[in-house]
Subunit: 458 residues, 2 copies
Amino acid sequence: MAEHTISFDKTLSKLLEEKKYQTLKDVMVTMNGADIAAVFEDLDQDRTPLLFRLLPKELAAETFTELSPELQEHLIRGFSDRELREVVSELYVDDAADLVEEMPASVVKRILAQADPEMRKEINEILRYPENSAGSIMTTEYVSLRPQMSVAEAIQRIRRTGVDKETIYTCYVTKDRRLLGTVSVKDLLLAADDNTPVSEIMDENVISVTTLTDQEEVAQMLSKYNFLALPVVDTDQRMVGIVTFDDAMDVLVEETTEDIQKMAGMLPSEKTYLRSNAWDLFKHRIPWLMLLMVSATFTGMIISNFENALAAQVALTAFIPMLMDTGGNSGSQASVTVIRALSLGELELNDLPAVVWKEIKTAVLCGVALASLCFLKIMLFDRMLLGNSGISIMTAFVVCATMAVTVLIAKMVGCTLPMLAKSLGFDPAVMASPFITTIVDALSLLVYFGIASALLFG
Amino acid sequence: MAEHTISFDKTLSKLLEEKKYQTLKDVMVTMNGADIAAVFEDLDQDRTPLLFRLLPKELAAETFTELSPELQEHLIRGFSDRELREVVSELYVDDAADLVEEMPASVVKRILAQADPEMRKEINEILRYPENSAGSIMTTEYVSLRPQMSVAEAIQRIRRTGVDKETIYTCYVTKDRRLLGTVSVKDLLLAADDNTPVSEIMDENVISVTTLTDQEEVAQMLSKYNFLALPVVDTDQRMVGIVTFDDAMDVLVEETTEDIQKMAGMLPSEKTYLRSNAWDLFKHRIPWLMLLMVSATFTGMIISNFENALAAQVALTAFIPMLMDTGGNSGSQASVTVIRALSLGELELNDLPAVVWKEIKTAVLCGVALASLCFLKIMLFDRMLLGNSGISIMTAFVVCATMAVTVLIAKMVGCTLPMLAKSLGFDPAVMASPFITTIVDALSLLVYFGIASALLFG
């Protein structure tokens, strides 16, 4: 599909240069909002307003929603009030609320002035909810039915009011705004008798979330139950909106990207890579780099303490990187696995003993395998092939014993720290590779010099 | 929701012990298949067949689909042929195909024997497609309409045939099995005139995938366009099935987990953490650990080569971990960012020059900041506070210059290797932290000793 967009790019630019507006219009109406938005992003900003005005109303709104905040702002600044009103009135309420959140104050004022009073009220309601809550991503446009309606009446109501709703396929049966049950259009269409009241065919086992439920949890529930939408209720159990599957998919992708960024020692950023400039990247990367660099002072101090031992047994120094790297890798395997399982909801905090026990067994297997291979490598490669006679069998033993102990420590630290972080209310993702590596580095050096002191200089 | 499941757990176990089967049934029918499956997984396996038999047919199938392969196999082995037939006939074709793929040959034989001939044919068709292709995750159960049908006839057809279809909300207009357009139930219900032919209201700009399209690409398209389902066509452009959004969400989550596992130096595994035993974990973790350990031989060799220099300037050794860690962290920040952007489709291979240039600028900013902080740290902490007079200003300069150069190299290696891997047809995710760390370790030591030789021993 990417190739399609790229070739369209050229065609549209050419048509635009030649001022063939009718052809441009004919081409664009065959396209999808997301694709038109992708083309717009690649164009010179100043040419976008002209192209945008060629789009029919609904497609214009669809395209607008998919644009970057920068381009949205640029377009809005060029809009007349009438144009702005037209676009805003076509937006779904949740998209309008997203827009208001992204724009600077002066633009927000204009948007709210052009929204009709009903929409303005709904936008403000959504914006009241904390960031990343179900309330902040929900839409207030859903189909509600009354329990005593017949199937035929319900279908009538959908036909009459459905055009403005984000999804019509799941309808919500409410009484005094309290949610009694859900009924799908499939149930309505497949009902045997048009006169059956909705209350008889509705599903009363409603799974709902509250306005304050975390958006990641909402997304996981939608994914787990394969629902098209989840109803959102307030603290009085009154229905206030729905979260639809497409928003949930976006949340899943965003939250995972954030997790991955944190795991690699970066502050999370919502900008895509190509839209971030070097300064953005710097700001998000430097804090952890500095913190981790400074904390490596400990490893340095440990080595300084054993300088004399190292000077006496210079061969020991050469194995430091291998021991540190293997420890770091073992630890990050455990931590990343646990972090992912936590964020998918596969692990709970009370699984900690089971996790630790499993990691101990895994560490013993890995430790024995690595230590054996390492011993072979030192004997065959370093001693025989390279003829490095400075490495005694005792030195090899010290290295391999350190290897086994380091792997065990690394796996334990790797699996417990993320769970500890979570139980303290922190995000487990920051306890991933870089952080674990720094701790494991220090511990592995202590083990190394401890074993070396006992066996070689004892 | 997790708490709900846990408390249900106890209730159901208790009811089961007391043989209160009617109550059990009454409780379970209020639950969702996914939740019942979660309870089943926690129960003693031998008690599940009894509970399963209490479920009404449709809920039984829904629950069955959500169970782990181990428990599915256990249940099937206990089923009579009639029971197996009942469950299989209620499954959607794509779920049945998944089941057949997971089960051992003897069980597969029984399943296929109990499936009706039509379903058996469709299962076999799906299984013919390569793993991770659109064909392998599609379902063949969709609503097809003819172009000349009126809106009323279309709705009639949905009401008559919809009960067995995985989604009825997007219908596919075909002629001689060739896909002409799509029409949603929303369009049908909201159409002004019941006599309008479907061909007039259908959307002819159909976005489709082929049976061989990669499942990750399919999932990203569904997420990009916010579709409920995407049609799948064969090489002759004939429609063969659809991929629905719920399967796409599962694919997104699975593929991301695989990416994360690879990025942390593990072979990807489809088993959840709690279901993997220590041996499984060992098998997935040890190959990369061994490979990386052995490749650390190079770093060891570099250090050995400079043993004499290190013996003369023991203070240099203490900074090795800090330089290696900072290099590794800088490199993995770049590689992980690029890998994620590649897998989200935000980056293409021809963006490489732009990426390298951006990383160079970021590296210069990070390098200067880190080197300055490092110089301050050495001067104030190591020399003044710890009184380590062995560290000359020249040594501090060597360390800081190495730091800046290492960060630059690390960011360059980190951003280019994943893109190179992709252009060679490999998975970029394996080029993440551990791999980059090993390369950067060796390079940073070479830089360190190079600069030290020139400035300290020159």
